[in-house]
Each structure stands twice: as C-alpha cells, then as structure tokens.
C-alpha cells in the first residue's frame, strides 16, 4: 500500500541525525518536524532569517514580526537566533546546513530537480529553492511517485525548467526510496513501501533504476 502524506513525512524523518541543522520545504516536508525522534536535537532553519524555529503560537499570541518562510506565524526557542537574508543564504550557500528536505514536481535519474515553474501556467518564482539545492550538503526529495495525471515524476530527464542540476541525493516517494548514484549511474532502489512490489515500481517509474544489494521492504 502506498505511503500516506504522514507516513512519507515519518519516513523522511529517518533522514534526520542528532545535531543536524535542517531546512524543510513546503508541503509534506513541513510535516517532517512532527516526527523528529524524541531525544534527538534538530535545529530548523527558516531562510527568511531564523535559526531554531519553534512551534506555531497559541491563539492570541501571534507576532507579526515572527514568521517562517511560508509566511506563517511561528514562535522562537531559547536557542533561536535572527539574521538578515544575506546571512541566511550565506549559511545555505556556504554549505553549513546539513540537510534540506524538499518537494518536487519532477526529479531525474541524474539528480536534476524541477520544482518552481510550469511555463505559461505558474509564475510564482523560485524563492529560495535554487539556493537550497545548490548549497545544502544533502538534498532529499519527498513527493508522490506520480503526478495527478498518473505519470511518473521520477524521470530519465526533467521536462520542466530546472531548479538545480545533479543536486538530489535521495528520493522518497509513496512507493519507494531511491538513491541517486554518483557519476550518472542512475537510481538505486533502496526500499519498498509496505505492500509495494519491485514490479509495481518498475511499472510506474520512467527513470532507469536497479535494485540496491541491500533492498528491503519496509
């Protein structure tokens, strides 16, 4: 059975490590914060200029000066620091963030990612996504395996305008987990979601992949 949004977030939370500084994207990646294991210290960065993001405020305690990159009201923690957008992206571009978990419209077998623009349809802008994929040490994509039309989002080559080239290291979908192999060797199937078979992945994936030696069913 394919993973639900929350199960995807729960699986993505396994990418976290104690002491990590992490930037989470919009959508399913946001939910990852709900699954940070007890006792693990993870510090969330918000690219509008905050390190150490706390939970949403209680009603009546919203502060218009304190928002996350999704423009939602949030709270601070004792360890919080604030800084300018230039400092924030120096942190990102300079490789100081350990992990970025992002959604995507398309990912290719060489690690290319497209998640900011549909020509003629969507002109919202890339925000900080291009900086994140270019600068963060490890980029993990969490997304549905197929788009609304049922077509594979895991492709040989992206068809939409790219956010970054060869930047994704791992792809977590509702069906499975792929690693992007170095040197253009394609994808390696690392895990299957509970009840999903390798044949099913084969039928629903456009990209080239091969099973990893340690392939396991979750």
């Amino acid at each position: 059975m394919p993973r639900t949004r929350d199960q995807l977030a729960e699986r993505a939370a396994q990418e976290l490590q104690d002491g990590f500084y992490v930037n989470l994207g919009i959508g399913i990646p946001t939910l990852v914060a709900n699954y940070i294991p007890d006792g693990m210290e993870v510090t969330l960065q918000s690219e509008n200029g905050m390190l150490g993001m706390g939970p949403f405020p209680f009603e009546g305690e919203e502060d218009p000066d304190l928002i996350n990159a999704g423009k939602q009201t949030i709270t601070a923690l004792p360890k919080t620091s604030y800084f300018s957008s230039a400092d924030s992206f120096a942190m990102i571009r300079g490789g100081h963030i350990d992990l970025s978990i992002l959604g995507a419209m398309e990912v290719a077998e060489n690690g290319d990612i497209a998640n900011w623009m549909i020509p003629g349809k969507m002109v919202k802008g890339m925000g900080g996504a291009m900086d994140l994929v270019a600068g963060v040490k490890r980029v993990v994509v969490v997304m549905d395996h197929a788009n609304k039309a049922g077509q594979s989002k895991v492709l040989k080559r992206c068809t939409l305008p790219l956010t970054g080239q060869r930047v994704v290291t791992r792809i977590i979908t509702d069906l499975c987990v792929f690693d992007v192999l170095p040197n253009g060797e394609g994808l390696s199937l690392l895990e299957l979601a509970p009840g999903v078979t390798a044949d099913e992945v084969a039928a629903r994936t456009e990209a080239q992949w091969r099973p990893a030696p340690e392939l396991k069913a979750a």
Partner: protein, 244 residues
C-alpha cells in the same frame, strides 16, 4: 537629529522621479516599509523598477503600487501571493526578473559593499544562468551575478536612535539591512526613535552612516498566514518553512 523628519511624505520629498529604481525591504508582509509605500502611492511617481523579495498582496504592501500601475518592472524571488501581479505579468503589462532569493540578497549586499559582481553556484544549469557568464572553480560551475543598487532604499526597522543607528526585530529584519546599504538615498521608518546613546553599540544592526532620513511610522503589521496551535494539544504541530 538632522536625519529625523516628521513623516513619510517629508522623508520622500525631493527624492522621487519617474523611471527610478526603488528597493523595498520585507519578506512577505513582514518588515515592509508600510508608510513609505503609501506615500509613494500618493506621490503618483511612475515607471518604477521595484526590487523587493515579494510583491505584497493585492491590497497591501507593494501590491498597492501594482494596482495603481506605478510599477513598470519587478525584481523579486517569489510573487505567489499577488493575483494582480500574475494577471499583469501574463498580460504583458509588467516586466519581471526572477532572482533566486539568496542571489537577490547577495546582489544587494554586494551592491551596497561596492562589489560589482560575484560568482555563485545557485542557478547554474537553469534558466537563471541563461545569457550570463559562467566559470568553473574546483570542477563546479558558477554563474556571474551583478551587484544591485537603487536610487532609493525604503527600509523598515524596529528602533532607531537620533544618529540613525538601527535595530530590527525578529524576522522583520530580512532584506532591510542590505537594502539600507544599497540605495543612493535611504529612507527609514521605525516604530520608535530613542535618544542617542540609549541603544547598545554592540547591538546595532545598521550603523547610522547608511541612513539619510528617518521617521516614526504608524504600522498595521498585517499577518499573511495566521497559523496557531490549540492550547490543549499534546503533540506539537510542525511550524516550518517553505522555499518562498
């Protein structure tokens, strides 16, 4: 004391002209120069090139200047919250230059610091790199991006002293400090002006040298996405960001 003026209209007096380039601080509606934007609208100045991370919403922030068609071109990273923006752009009525958010921030920082251009890996191999010089350092491709300056920077800070030293509050800092350095003129609106000497010199975010005119504004501080958690909830909901 010489920098302090009564209001936004006085602050902008003599600084505006058609076709000018204006930087406006803020992220979404957080930390935007609300008062100067209203005064800019009332001035009627037109054909503005506006450099700002976002374009406000339809009826607040820079969205007000889109409604009145005073903006000719926007340089931004994300404009998703503004429907009028999308309409004008798709109809060919508005020029648009998208910059990755970190590239935009660094271009402004560089402009204010006298650095004409810099190389960044952000956007390499994407539409952003088209027509730009690229260069390989240590086997990685980088894109040459130019520094940005403006005729006028509109900045919002929390507190100032009479010498123009500024302190920002929480995430309302965002693009404001870099913009303060990158405008040939810099107009700052604050919530409070305190006597010189009462701010901690170690805690000044923007030194007064960058500030030309300063006034105390009245702020609506509109919240774009009011998000709360119930008081009784056991699990703490996620409060995390988007690539916006």
């Amino acid at each position: 004391m010489r920098k302090i003026v009564p209001d936004a209209q006085a602050a902008l007096d003599g600084l505006l002209f058609d076709g000018m380039t204006i930087m406006a601080g803020g992220f979404g509606l957080c930390g935007i120069p609300e008062n100067s934007i209203l005064a800019l609208r009332d001035s009627g100045v037109k054909d503005i090139t506006a450099i700002s991370n976002n374009a406000g919403v339809d009826d607040f922030g820079l969205g007000l200047l889109l409604q009145t068609r005073q903006i000719k071109k926007m340089v931004s990273s994300y404009v998703g919250e503004n429907k009028e923006f999308e309409r004008q752009y798709l109809a060919g009525e508005l020029e648009l230059e998208f910059n990755p958010q970190g590239t935009l921030a660094e271009r402004i920082r560089a402009g204010g610091a006298g650095i004409p251009a810099f190389f960044t890996a952000t956007g390499a191999g994407t539409l952003v790199a088209e027509g730009k010089e690229t260069r390989v350092f240590a086997e990685r491709e980088y894109v040459l991006e130019t520094g940005l300056t403006a005729d006028l920077a509109l900045v919002k800070a929390w507190k100032a002293d009479e010498a123009g030293n500024l302190v920002y509050r929480e995430t309302a800092r965002n693009f404001n400090p870099m913009m303060a350095t990158a405008g040939r003129r810099c107009v700052v609106e604050v919530e409070e002006i305190v006597p010189t000497g009462s701010l901690d010199p170690d805690g000044i975010h923007t030194p007064g040298i960058y500030v030309d005119r300063l006034f105390v504004g009245a702020f609506e501080k509109r919240i774009e996405q009011r998000t709360v958690r119930p008081r009784q909830a056991a699990p703490i909901p996620a409060a995390t960001g988007a690539e916006v």
